[in-house]
């Protein structure tokens, strides 16, 4: 066997309080497509950033063509022959293809840039690799799939021998994915090696030669795709962790609180993110939406809460029409929302804890009267909320950013739950929290359920979904793949549905067995 082009030995990277990668062994053979598979947060991106010089590993060795190397910055990686295609393209929109490709490189007639000659050269290289790209086109005019090929071209022009693709299909349409696969296969025939970072199982099987599975920062195994199956990979990826136990009383679901009928919506890029979704959530019930990040879950939550317009279908809350109402109107219909991003949308970090706590009741009596805050009412409210939700802080006048993540989320919970909402939409409610805080948030949600709230829980953490949900809906590419009972759900079935491999025959119809008690 020839020397691998790249070999990682015992690579370790830690951030304060987090071990992102540990004991990572990896070898990439010349001319192979090697998948790096793992859930979000499994440490794939950190590992690649170590390789590309964005981070410095804390321990371990990197061998390039058998020689140990140190990579301090992107420039070093480029010089070795490592090219990276980021998930969010690093292309300058108003510049042409040629300008983007040659950016930062000295020209042959330095300091002059002979655009015409370069256009010709880039055009020829593109043709050699089978890319249909007009070198004089500006990036913003090109479809996403072509932009990606410009990124690949950029790496190839810099004489890359190893190409790292970070979630390359995340932004592509199915046709574009097909095209990308044939491009990649073609490239390996020319001797290139490729690392393909993904969490999508079927892509691994479709295009990769070997696959390394990462879980919680560690390598689980490296196998040939020909020797494995999606089911087996799903098992390795998700693992068999001990599920957190949540004390959840048996309750009979009540009236329908949220009803979605064939709802559709677009994402920020104008692509269809929510595709014809119908579901119901009842009182005393938690409906968990499982799925890999970026399959339309966030968009769904935003449609329900009025933050994103629905392009089709109907949203009803407690029997009342709620499609495309303003966020304020929907709030007043009894809907609470825990947004997925605490830092940017969940809290106002520069507001005090008090000001954040009244974030949903600021305009109502007794908090304010005729537009003026009532200090006593605000203080009473704040003190009660801090006590009820156990927010650990020296004082309520401190800024929210001074709190720990767990306490920040408690503030969000206090704000959203203190009005006893009829519907709670919780998107990634425990993202980035430690075990104690996670438990606390979950207990609170179960409590809200007992009080009669209907809860729509969106999470990419399968464990969380499994331990909390009464029913589980799996979302894939904007569609519901199926709805399963929460009790004794088969994790592998869910894992497969999350990867879009398996779809229940009846689509969104709930099977007999899982009908609520």
């Amino acid at each position: 066997m020839t020397e691998p082009i790249l070999r990682l030995e015992n690579v370790r990277k830690t951030f304060p309080g987090v071990i992102a990668n540990d004991q990572v062994y990896l070898d990439i053979r010349v001319g192979e497509i090697h998948a790096l598979l793992g859930e979000n947060g499994a440490g794939k991106s950190t590992l690649m950033n170590c390789l590309y010089g964005v981070y410095r590993p804390d321990g371990g060795k990197i061998f390039w063509k058998g020689k140990e190397v140190d990579i301090y910055q992107a420039r070093d990686a480029i010089a070795l022959g490592i090219g990276m295609v980021h998930q969010h393209f690093k292309l300058v929109p108003p510049l042409t293809v040629t300008e983007n490709v040659v950016l930062g490189l000295p020209s042959k007639r330095e300091p002059f840039l002979d655009v015409k000659t370069l256009d010709k050269e880039i055009g020829e290289i593109a043709k050699r690799y089978g890319f249909d790209i007009d070198p004089t086109a500006q990036i913003w005019q090109l479809p996403v799939g072509v932009q990606q090929r410009v990124e690949i071209l950029k790496a190839l022009y810099r004489k890359a021998e190893l190409l790292i693709l970070d979630e390359p299909t995340a932004v592509l349409t199915p046709q574009e994915v097909e095209e990308l696969f044939s491009v990649l296969k073609n490239l390996t025939k020319m001797g290139l090696s490729i690392i393909f970072i993904t969490h999508k199982l079927e892509e691994v099987m479709a295009v990769c030669d070997r696959v390394t599975v990462l879980r919680l920062g560690k390598v689980i195994d490296t196998v040939n795709t020909s020797d494995t199956s999606t089911r087996e990979l799903a098992k390795m990826m998700v693992g068999r962790e001990v599920f957190m136990t949540v004390n959840k009383p048996e309750l009979v679901p009540g009236e329908v609180v949220l009803k979605l009928n064939a709802v559709s919506a677009l994402d920020n890029r104008g692509l269809k993110a929510v595709n014809d979704i119908s579901l119901e959530v009842r009182r005393n019930e938690i409906l968990g939406i499982a799925g890999v990040d970026g399959n339309g879950q966030t968009e769904l939550a935003e449609v329900v809460t009025g933050l994103r317009p629905a392009t089709g279908g109907k949203v009803e809350i407690l029997g009342k029409e709620a499609t495309n109402r303003s966020p304020l109107e929907i709030m007043e219909m009894g809907v609470a929302y825990i947004p997925p991003d605490r830092q940017h949308t969940g809290l106002l970090m520069d507001f005090s804890i008090t000001e954040n706590l009244i974030g949903k009741s600021y305009y109502e009596e007794p908090i304010s009267k005729k537009g003026v805050f009532q200090k006593d009412a605000v203080n009473t409210f704040t003190e009660k909320a801090i006590k009820d939700y156990d927010v650990r802080t020296p004082g309520p006048e401190l800024k929210a950013k001074s709190l720990s993540g767990g306490n920040q989320q408690k503030v969000v919970l206090a704000r959203e739950l203190s009005s006893n909402p009829d519907l709670l939409v919780a998107a990634q409610p425990v993202r980035g929290l430690d075990v104690g805080a996670t438990e606390y948030v979950h207990d609170r949600m179960v409590e809200a359920r007992s009080k009669g709230a209907a809860i729509l829980l969106i999470s990419t953490e399968l464990e969380e979904i499994l331990s909390l949900s009464d029913r589980i809906a799996v979302m894939f590419e904007g569609k519901i793949m199926g709805i399963l009972p929460g009790k004794n759900a088969d994790i592998h079935e869910i894992g497969a549905m999350m990867a879009g491999v398996h779809q229940t025959e009846s689509g969104t119809v709930v099977r007999e067995a899982e009908k609520p008690l």
């Binding site: 951030f15 950190t46 950033n49 964005v54 981070y55 910055q73 992107a74 420039r75 480029i78 990276m84 980021h86 393209f89 690093k90 292309l91 300058v92 929109p93 108003p94 510049l95 300008e99 983007n100 040659v102 950016l103 930062g104 490189l105 000295p106 020209s107 330095e110 300091p111 002059f112 840039l113 655009v115 950029k154």
Partner: protein, 318 residues
């Protein structure tokens, strides 16, 4: 009234005046265009120009040579450019606020430097100091062409620098590797960073150029047009030059046309005032601002802003 007006616009001097009045704006705006394209708001042009005016006077006065003034004006402008860089690029503070501070500061520094230089035996000189000025230089042959000659080729030397600057900056921006870096840094600094371009370095380089040419613009005001110094003698020309950049949608030709428009309004205004008739020339001065405002409101005006304009660059770190 109409006769007076036609007597103005039929006069060749008027057109020469437009060129002359536009020059300081042109030098500043085109010289700062590269910094703008690299994502820096050059609100600080006013202070760079102001420093240029006093640099011109001091250099010319001390060395008794106007060209020494030009040199010192450039040095002073560059100094402000570097200070602006420390705040806007290295520290990453709010660029407009920093510029407001610098403008105020150079208002003070220029007066003090001027007074310090021309102090006589510990006493501040009250009368206006006259220093050597750059001579009006007629370009051979070209200067003799009827109409074209007197309008374009019979000027102070710095006017010709302005002529050359427009195509040069265009060429640098679009036909050199450095210009490509500048444009990339202003539109998508993180993309530039990933291909090994030092965003910080490029921004400092453009600020040095911005300072140098804005300093030159200041020198034009002091040692071409007047030969003496007054407090705050730029009188907001830096802001006007900045407006011209927006007016020209960050394109060299457009910016040059913008400065011409402002220069023409100024030249016309002065002549109407001299006629001493009751014509509301103020609306004339207002015109370029109104036009810029409309240009901004129109959809086309929005698309041309460099995407990273005014944003400090920070690498994402773990």
């Amino acid at each position: 009234m109409f006769e007076g007006f036609s007597s103005i616009i039929l006069n060749i001097d008027f057109y020469a005046a437009i060129v002359r009045m536009s020059t300081p704006l042109l030098l500043g705006a085109i010289g700062s265009l590269m910094a703008e394209r690299a994502g820096i708001v050059t609100f600080s042009m006013e202070s760079m120009m102001l420093m240029g005016t006093v640099g011109g006077i001091i250099g010319s006065g001390l060395m008794n040579n106007a060209w020494a003034g030009v040199g010192l004006a450039i040095i002073f402008g560059v100094l402000i450019g570097l200070i602006y860089g420390i705040w806007a690029v290295s520290i990453g503070s709010h660029q407009i606020v920093t510029s407001v501070g610098l403008n105020l500061g150079s208002l003070g520094i220029t007066s003090i430097l001027y007074a310090l230089t021309f102090m006589k035996g510990g006493e501040v000189v009250e009368e206006i100091i006259k220093v050597p000025t750059l001579p009006i230089t007629k370009i051979p042959l070209l200067g003799d062409i009827p109409f074209i000659g007197p309008v374009f080729f019979n000027h102070y030397p710095l006017v010709y620098v302005g002529y050359l600057l427009v195509p040069m900056v265009w060429y640098i921006l679009y036909k050199t590797t450095w210009g490509l870096k500048v444009r990339a840094v202003g539109e998508h600094p993180h993309a530039a960073d990933t291909v090994g371009i030092s965003v910080i370095k490029v921004r400092y380089q453009t600020l040095i150029l911005s300072g140098a040419f804005s300093g030159l613009a200041g020198a034009f005001l002091s040692i071409c047009m007047l030969g003496s110094f007054q407090e705050n003698m730029t009188a907001g020309r830096g802001f006007i030059a900045y407006t011209a950049i927006v007016f020209g949608k960050w394109q060299p030709i457009g910016v040059a046309l913008g400065t011409l428009l402002f220069g023409a309004a100024d030249a016309l205004q002065l002549r109407i005032q001299a006629m001493n008739e009751n014509i509301p020339y103020q609306f004339l001065i207002m015109l370029p601002y109104v036009v810029t405002m409309i240009a901004l409101i129109s959809v086309v005006g929005r698309a041309s802003w460099p995407a990273a304009s005014g944003l400090p660059f920070k690498r994402e770190e773990g």
